[in-house]
């Protein structure tokens, strides 16, 4: 990036500028700095208040006890978030397994194979997937996906019951449906970031591979993929971050059962969904509210860690070559 030549006000320019104008500049600088600082302050306040409100539940059960106890029992005021954590992990992993290959394939096709006339249209359509609101995916999931997929799920469950976590009675809302909807919801971000990463592969290397007689696919395998592995990994991590935190669509299709299901076609719960569902019923100031906010805190830490890893991968590969970090965040 080109640096602006920072014209010092004291040299040449100063004589032309009035004292008042310079004062205004100082005020501008400081008010902008104060805005920036106050944004940081609000964020800090955000974390502190969440932590304070979650504290009663966390100290009552202990931080580890809260996370690892497999018992979320509202009626008896026992709050162990393990079923929620497990549900969040299962649905997110299903989303990654289903969504990431599709998203990367789509990104590769758009950047390497699609005719140039179609390229921007395809990219636009992929981005529009993100424009559909979460609650609409949920609505679609409840009334279309769940009933339409149930026979297929039951067949799969019966036929492949020798696989781990498969077999037995399929319930309508379940981990798999939630994971499937999450997969759809993370495709746009994973494929958008992957496209940005793929676009940074130097043209000479691609042309070099082709000139040596490689087919398009060999060019992708030999020149494009090795160059973009780190970027694509962090795209997947960003997708994982999205999947972990997604609330409304999952709340509608997860089944809201705080007991860990035996197979992926069983009902479950996630951290975000339990907050969305139970917050309205909980009495303000109760242990229940505190536990829900503690669940929110666990959710926050999970997403921050995942996004931090994504950012770390990008920054590390960034040092080796051109800057793609900015694009990964949008």
């Amino acid at each position: 990036m080109v640096e602006v030549i920072n014209v010092p006000h004291t040299v040449s320019g100063a004589r032309l500028k009035s004292r008042r104008a310079l004062q205004a500049d100082v005020i501008l600088r400081w008010s902008l700095r104060v805005t920036a600082l106050s944004m940081l302050a609000v964020l800090g306040y955000f974390f502190v208040r969440l932590a304070i409100t979650a504290e009663p539940a966390l100290s009552h059960f202990g931080i580890l006890g809260f996370i690892f106890t497999n018992n979320w029992d509202v009626a008896h005021n026992i709050f162990g978030a393990w079923p929620l954590v497990v549900g969040t992990l299962i649905t997110s992993i299903v989303a990654l397994v289903l969504g990431v290959p599709v998203a990367i394939a789509a990104a590769l096709y758009v950047t390497e194979f699609a005719p140039s006339r179609l390229r921007s249209t395809l990219a636009l359509l992929l981005d529009l997937l993100a424009a559909v609101p979460s609650v609409v995916y949920g609505l679609w999931g409840v009334f279309i996906l769940i009933p339409d997929l149930k026979p297929a799920e039951q067949w799969f469950s019966n036929t492949f019951s020798f696989l781990p976590f498969v077999g037995g009675q399929v319930s309508g809302p379940n981990y798999f449906i939630a994971g499937l909807i999450l997969a759809i919801m993370i495709i746009p971000i994973v494929s958008a970031v992957s496209r940005e990463v793929l676009a940074t592969v130097p043209l000479q290397e691609k042309e070099g591979a082709l000139a040596l007689g490689a087919t398009r696919w060999e060019m992708i395998r030999l020149a494009v993929l090795p160059r973009s592995r780190a970027g694509i990994t962090s795209a997947a991590m960003l997708g994982l971050g999205r999947a972990i935190g997604e609330t409304i669509a999952v709340t509608l299709v997860i089944g809201s059962s705080p007991v860990i299901g035996h197979q992926i076609f069983n009902q479950g719960y996630t951290l975000a969904a339990v907050i969305a569902n139970e917050f309205g019923e909980a009495t303000p100031g109760s242990l229940h509210i505190s536990a829900l906010i503690a669940a929110g805190l666990v959710l926050l830490v999970l997403t921050l860690v995942v996004n931090g890893i994504a950012r770390g991968i990008i920054i590390r590969s960034d040092r080796r070559r051109g800057s793609i970090a900015d694009k990964a965040v949008a």
């Binding site: 609101p133 609650v135 995916y137």
Partner: protein
């Protein structure tokens, strides 16, 4: 074109297989979009009528359930206030980052935390506003402006990021020319940088609006919802995503039909905002 050297049939087969596999990826990725739009159209169109848009939900147990007037107006009000909060602050932050802070420690810290904010699940913004404004302090109770505050937190990083990018696209020669003519820095920013970057700022703002319009989670414990139309930002308010979320969970088929109709309305609104954003971007050759 890559067959100058003779490519063996096997390699050619693998190549075309890969091409088809990747194309399948595109089809699989876009199929859900097509399916969702198809079903929302199919099930939603039947719900639409003049009275659907001009009556409030009745909340009655039997009989006529009413339309979505209060939900549409509520969404517009809540998002408008959120935009009025998030866009000025976001653009100011971007001006700071791009024009003043640049690579300074404070600027890098702000950039880092703006990144962090983009990754925070939206429901947590709702929780935060709930803790601070709904139960804590003097301003207790649910209100539309609290939902706007939660949405503003969600929009802030989007606005800041996109604005910073479009400010960075303003050529430095313009700034230098204005400075060389003796303009003070604030005037350079207000008269040269911001107007030049305006289409980009508009795109970023509109994308943030589109994103916020569809959000349900931040509104759940801040706005709570209502049946009647209200123009008081201090009162509980209805909104389209909330209406859909509540109607889906009711066993009444009339409400489910209304949910599809509301979903169609919401999607059309969001697509229009997206379209406007992209038109604004095209004028600036940003994308």
């Amino acid at each position: 074109m890559n067959t100058l050297a003779v490519t063996s049939p096997r390699r050619r087969r693998v190549d075309s297989l890969a091409r088809w596999a990747l194309l399948a990826g595109v089809v699989l990725a876009l199929a859900p979009l097509a399916l969702v739009l198809l079903y929302v159209l199919k099930r939603g169109v039947g719900a639409l009528s003049l009275s659907f848009f001009t009556t409030d939900p009745t909340g009655a147990f039997f009989g006529d359930q009413g339309g979505i007037k209060s939900a549409i107006l509520g969404t517009i009000e809540i998002v408008a206030l959120a935009t009025a909060i998030a866009v000025p602050i976001g653009v100011t932050l971007a001006v700071y980052l791009n024009e003043i802070g640049r690579k300074s420690k404070l600027a890098m810290t702000v950039r880092y935390f703006v990144d962090v904010l983009t990754g925070v699940p939206s429901i947590l913004f709702g929780l935060f506003i709930y803790i601070v404004f709904v139960v804590g302090g003097m301003l207790t109770g649910f209100a539309a402006w609290k939902g706007s505050a939660a949405l503003a937190l969600l929009m802030l990083p989007i606005v800041t990021r996109t604005s910073e990018v479009s400010l960075a696209l303003v050529p430095d020669s313009l700034r230098e020319a204005a400075l060389a003519l003796g303009a003070p820095r604030w005037r350079v920013i207000l008269r040269v940088v911001l107007p030049t970057a305006l289409p980009g700022l508009l795109t970023g703002g509109l994308l943030a609006v589109a994103r916020a319009s569809g959000e349900t989670a931040p509104l759940l414990f801040t706005v709570l919802g209502a049946q009647a139309t209200t123009f008081s930002l201090g009162a509980q308010m209805n909104s389209l995503p909330l209406q859909i979320f509540n109607d889906v969970r009711e066993p009444n088929p009339q409400l489910v039909t209304r949910a599809w109709g509301a979903a169609l309305t919401l999607i059309v609104m969001i697509l229009l905002i997206n379209l406007a954003a992209r038109l604004a971007a095209r004028r600036n050759h940003l994308r």
